[in-house]
């Protein structure tokens, strides 16, 4: 198979285990995102794939050649990979053009230059080629770094938080451009990020790495959002409403109605997590559902966050996200139902 094959990788810094039997497959032409909280070892996995960190256990195969295992360690310069660093790591003493040609010493200078110009054209940077990196904006530096990584036609591209240095407005645009360039090259890409939205946008498939260094779920973005296999995965996308209950007849009762809990042992203590957009509000007289009391509404732009509590006076706040300006006529007459697509049941773990 063309592409990257990581198998059974374990890694520890002293006693701190950051990767535990991690497996990742990235076929050529696909973009896989490694999503996880900071400090979870996802950058380490990239560095292992690149050969910048020496493998401790497992194996790394690129285009059917084993580059790292118990007995093999191919030096990073011999792996034919592209690596884009979080801080871009552009060489400050070289111009934009020299940065991009730096990785093509196997080509004669004119050919390297032609190839670099092609790459710079692809990222729209041909008019800045003789500038030193520090004269470029953050977005421009990111583009040059991408061109530099792709210019030597790597078998594999590794991206380490490639958009985290950009401000919010810039980020969305550069993300789109980058995705376009990558799809055109068709290179196998492994990207690391801690931003779920970014992963959802970029990835063909997402791997979620937990704090203990284990892969918690690997699936397409849709699956990750609508069918999280783990409480941690469900919570990645922000605040959740939580109700605790007990499985009874394969269902769990919550103050807002009952939720299906298939494949769970009867009598098990569980938590029901409901996304803020998974609670449907109605404010008309004859709607049915659980009556709620409005606390406040916060317009965020395209979304509206509504804070409520149960009319029965039970403790705890309920967060609801609605996609229109929410101005209920009667503050007292709000009723709520659960949209089962956004409600997930997980066992309550000890200590919670």
């Amino acid at each position: 198979m063309k592409g990257l094959l990581i198998h059974g990788v374990c890694h520890a810094f002293g006693d701190n285990k950051v990767l535990d039997k991690v497996a990742v497959v990235v076929p050529a032409g696909e973009l896989v995102c490694l999503l996880g909280p900071s400090g979870c070892g996802k950058s380490t996995l990239l560095r292992i794939a690149a050969g910048l960190e020496v493998l401790q256990e497992g194996s790394v195969v690129i285009d059917e050649v084993t580059v790292a295992s118990n007995t093999v360690h191919v030096e990073p310069q011999d792996r034919r990979i592209g690596f884009m660093f979080q801080d871009y790591a552009l060489f400050p003493h070289l111009t934009v053009l020299d940065n991009v040609t730096f990785g093509m010493k196997y080509l004669p200078p004119e050919k390297a230059k032609a190839r670099a110009m092609d790459m710079l054209a692809q990222v729209g940077m041909t008019d800045q080629i003789s500038k030193p990196p520090h004269m470029l904006s953050g977005g421009q530096q990111q583009r040059v770094a991408l061109a530099r990584a792709l210019a030597p036609e790597p078998k594999l591209l590794l991206l380490d938080e490639p958009f985290s240095g950009l401000d919010t407005n810039m980020r969305a645009r550069i993300r789109e451009e980058t995705l376009g360039v990558l799809k055109e090259c068709g290179v196998a890409t492994l990207m690391v990020t801690h931003d779920p939205e970014e992963a959802m946008f970029m990835a063909d498939r997402i791997k979620i790495l937990g704090r203990d260094g284990k892969i918690l779920q690997a699936a397409r973005p849709h699956e990750i959002y609508y069918h999280p296999k783990h409480e941690f995965v469900a919570k990645l996308f922000g605040l959740m409403n939580r109700f605790d209950g007990v499985v009874d007849n394969a269902r769990v009762e919550t103050p807002l109605g009952s939720v299906a809990a298939p494949d769970m042992a009867e009598g098990l203590k569980v938590q029901v997590l409901i996304r803020p957009e998974g609670i449907v509000l109605a404010s008309s007289e004859n709607a049915n559902g659980t009556p709620l009391e409005l606390l406040s509404t916060h317009l965020l732009g395209h979304d509206n966050v509504v804070r409520l509590r149960l009319a029965s006076g039970q403790k705890g706040e309920i967060y609801v996200r609605v996609h229109h300006a929410f101005e209920p006529e009667l503050a007292m007459g709000i009723k709520a139902k659960i949209d089962p697509d956004y409600a997930f049941v997980f066992p309550v773990e000890a200590g919670q």
């Binding site: 950058s43 910048l52 960190e53 990073p76 690596f83 060489f91 003493h93 990785g103 990584a149």
Partner: protein, 560 residues
């Protein structure tokens, strides 16, 4: 982001003995050997004169050394910290000039101003002569005049040229302090002086302590001044026991005693460096207030700051310059030119080697990492603390036993004698310079290498460049200025170096420093003037560089 930001294979399961570790181990062994040899020699059985020494001159040596250290320590503290506080916190006439001018005396070796002031202040000198003419005195018994060739004189000379270490470090520390904490102190009811005393000074304390430890290391290293003033310190004692009593074991015993002083200083310095960075609690780096000192206060500040610059640099340079002009015929001669050539050769070679070795060690630590390498490099940069006299004893001992071993081997196996191959050669002097100055080049190169983000290495490696190619194409160009700085620092210190050169040089081999020493101690300052000025002139270069660096050192003003 995880802790895995180093490029090292520090998590490797097997300790690999590679070229970097081996090379660094060899270097640190070479540095340690002379120091170990001193200790070994001191404990070797032989004509033990320790008992004799301790009942006669030893108490005097120790007392003089301790008094010298206390005197120089206090003097440099007052001038260094006071000057730093004035120029960082206040505006007064000439402040902008004093910011860098206060560093000037650094260019002046203590022995050079000792010769100048003796020439001026001794009985036959112009000052006493003028006083005698003025008051009609005819003999030394009729008046009292301070004797320059004394312990007090030595303290003054060394204070005048060494205080810039304290100034430099405390100024940097004051500049680093967020103006926020000082403003907080003012708002909480302390006046300027109380704020200095209770906030700024404690915050700068680690830096000041480092400065004073460096000053005291230089004090212990000084040979020229104490020799000329006949102040019997441990350094002079080593020379005395060795040269005049021909007792190298006794010299080694004194040297070991001196090492105890040094170890104490190194520990104090290391401890302070460890605690150097108080965590800044605010990140506001506004311009420092720059309180205006008006009227008398301004002039007082001007006077306080000009005093050390005048006495430590301008006046002695002026005297030397006058001599160089009036005695030009005698100041320029074949011997001086040859000495200058020798100085260039020794210092230049030492600088080049020291920088190459420093790059090797610093890059090895970067790409291999690991505790072993770190410890080895620390050991290899120990030499800066060891006084020249002590090091000289060690180098002689090491080279003599090396020579003897080779000679024995050759005689037994090939039937001819090689004699002394290393002892008393230029190579011996250069080796000693390297041991003493490696810390300078290593520190400079390592500091600049650490500033290069590890992802630079990663980028170069993933773009197909190996370790050596990365060093050549990425690190070396980025470090160019620091490499030059490192070479220059070693070069300048080599030009000034006296005790090591005097002991280890080949017979009849003169450098500028030994030439100045020989003629100036003979009270022929005219002959020595041009040579001395040359040493001072080279010493100015790093001072200019330092003053440039210190002006850029304020964190808030740093731009990429």
């Amino acid at each position: 982001m995880t802790g895995g930001q180093s490029l090292s294979g520090r998590t490797r399961r097997h300790l690999k003995i590679d070229g970097w570790t081996l090379g660094t181990a060899a270097i640190s062994l070479a540095v340690m050997l002379p120091i170990l040899a001193v200790i070994l020699l001191a404990f070797s059985p032989g004509d033990d004169i320790w008992g004799h020494l301790s009942s006669t001159v030893l108490p005097l040596y120790v007392a003089n050394t301790v008094q010298l250290m206390i005197g120089v320590g206090c003097g440099t503290f007052l001038i260094g910290v006071g000057g730093a506080w004035l120029v960082t916190m206040y505006r007064f006439p000439g402040k902008a000039v004093f910011e860098w001018a206060l560093l000037l005396p650094m260019a002046m070796p203590a022995y050079v101003i000792a010769y100048v002031y003796t020439d001026i202040l001794e009985y036959a000198g112009p000052v006493q002569g003028a006083l005698r003419d003025l008051f009609g005195w005819t003999s030394v018994r009729q008046y009292w005049f301070p004797e320059i060739r004394s312990l007090g004189g030595a303290i003054s000379m060394m204070t005048l040229v060494l205080y810039p270490y304290v100034y430099l470090l405390s100024r940097a520390a004051f500049l680093e302090q967020s103006v926020g904490v000082l403003e907080a102190s003012r708002v909480l009811g302390r006046n300027q002086w109380q704020s200095f005393y209770s906030v700024a000074l404690p915050l700068a304390r680690p830096a000041i302590v480092i400065g004073i430890s460096l000053v005291l290391m230089e004090t212990l290293n000084d040979f020229g001044t104490v020799d000329f003033f006949a102040v019997y310190t441990l350094t002079l004692g080593i020379f005395d026991v060795w040269m005049n009593m021909s007792n190298i074991a006794g010299a080694a015993q004194l040297a070991s005693l001196m090492l105890l002083f040094v170890i104490a200083l190194v520990l104090v310095e290391r401890f302070s460096r460890h605690n150097k960075w108080f965590h800044q609690t605010t990140s506001t780096y506004k311009d420092l207030p720059g309180y205006e000192l008006v009227g008398m206060k301004g002039w007082l500040a001007l006077f306080v700051c000009s005093f050390p610059v005048l006495l430590g640099f301008i006046f002695p340079s002026g005297v030397l310059l006058t001599y160089a002009v009036t005695h030009f015929d005698r100041a320029v001669n074949a011997v001086v030119l040859e000495s200058a050539g020798n100085s260039l050769l020794l210092s230049g070679t030492a600088a080049v080697i020291a920088v190459l070795v420093a790059i090797f060690m610093a890059y090895g630590v970067r790409i291999k990492g690991g505790r072993a390498l770190k410890v080895l490099t620390r050991l290899a940069s120990m030499g800066y603390a060891v006084p020249g006299s002590v090091l000289a004893v060690g180098v002689i001992a090491v080279l003599a036993s090396l020579d003897n071993t080779i000679d024995d081997f050759m005689r037994q196996n090939f039937g001819f004698s090689t004699g002394l191959m290393f002892s008393g050669t230029i190579a011996a002097v250069i080796f000693a310079y390297l041991v003493r100055f490696l810390a300078l080049s290593f520190g400079t190169v390592e500091a600049s290498l650490t500033k290069i983000t590890p992802s630079m290495d990663g980028a170069a490696r993933t773009l197909g460049h190996g370790a050596f190619s990365t060093l050549r194409r990425v690190h070396m160009p980025l470090m160019r200025t620091s490499i030059l700085t490192a070479a220059m620092l070693v070069f300048v210190d080599g030009m000034k170096e006296l005790p090591l050169t005097i002991i280890l040089r080949p017979f009849n081999f003169q450098t500028l420093a030994t030439y100045v020493h020989q003629f100036a101690s003979d009270e022929q300052l005219g002959e020595a003037s041009l040579a001395a000025l040359t040493i001072v002139g080279t010493g100015i270069v790093p001072v200019i560089l330092l003053s440039y660096v210190i002006r850029k050192s304020r964190p808030g003003q740093e731009t990429r």
